[in-house]
Amino acid sequence: MAGKYIYDEALVVEQLHDPGQAREAFGKVIEHYSQALYWQIRRMVFDHDDASDILQNTFIKAWTNIDNFRGDAKLSTWLHKIAINESITFINKKKAQNNIPLDSDDSFLANTLESDPWFDGDATQLQLQRAIASLPEKQRLVFNMRYFDEMKYEDMSEILGTSVGALKASYHHAIKKIESFFTEND
């Protein structure tokens, strides 16, 4: 029986800066972070194929810029930042294609959920996704990271560059808005 590989971040980061081991080390990074990053992206863009493409772009961007990663921040923070930026860029492009103002919410993304073969949620889950999509972008990010990923506020703070207090307030507002959405659409 093959022993299970234990991911050692410090060792992987060291290997990433060794030309002889970097490619193999990045393979470990992909293996370790692909699921977390995928779900982060998927909850932002809803569509599986779009999420898969954005995840691919995220890893390509990280790999081509690996020389710029010096290990000052955590690798996970760096990757999450890239994934968020890629997701927002994608959403903004989609808004432009659909003639939707950039400052409007992302509700349009939830319109195709009902017919999405990779969404099997019930009516309440669908309603929750619509409620989340109606939130401002940053609140949506904060809600997803906290509620679904159960990420610590300190980690979120590093990724989003916002104070812990502001994130807590943002999460609180998001919940209030989701409750209102359910009340209004009951």
Binding site: H17, D18, I30, Y38, I60, I175
Partner: protein
């Protein structure tokens, strides 16, 4: 966290209703690793040298030393300005003969100034003598 959640969210739970194709992650990871483009990676020395770590402190120390030197020079200039004597002080000094000679020998003050100062000193000496005489008379009267 638990107190933060609303009743609606408690009812729904953490399942967002999204799913992925079977073996998606295993296949994605393999495909992704295989399709990584060629990039140039420069090896970096992980441990910074002692000088690299001390450099900012050395620069800061040099900066403070520079400021201290500048202040010293500035203070020196103001101190030297303070040593310039007033005409009255020179005159008083000149009344002592040895001082006058020394001053004349070492000073860069012009001859005219020296003569005027000397005359002033004589004038002040006379005043002192007159006032002491008048005081002496008063004492006699008392």
């Amino acid at each position: 966290m638990k107190q933060e959640e609303s009743d609606i969210l408690k009812q729904i739970g953490k399942d967002a209703g999204f799913k992925v194709p079977e073996n998606f992650f295993a296949e994605f990871n393999q495909k992704m690793s295989d399709s990584l483009p060629q990039v140039e990676i420069t090896r970096v020395d992980e441990r910074p040298t002692l000088w690299t770590r001390l450099r900012p402190y050395a620069y800061m120390a040099a900066m403070f030393a520079g400021i201290w030197c500048m202040m010293k020079v500035f203070n020196g200039l103001t101190e030297s300005n303070k040593t310039e004597l007033t005409a009255k002080e020179i005159a008083a000094g000149m009344s002592i003969e040895s001082n006058a000679e020394e001053f004349i020998m070492n000073s860069s003050v012009s001859d005219v100034d020296i003569i005027m100062s000397y005359e002033d000193s004589l004038y002040y000496d006379n005043l002192i003598i007159e006032s002491s005489n008048s005081n002496g008379n008063n004492e006699e009267l008392l």
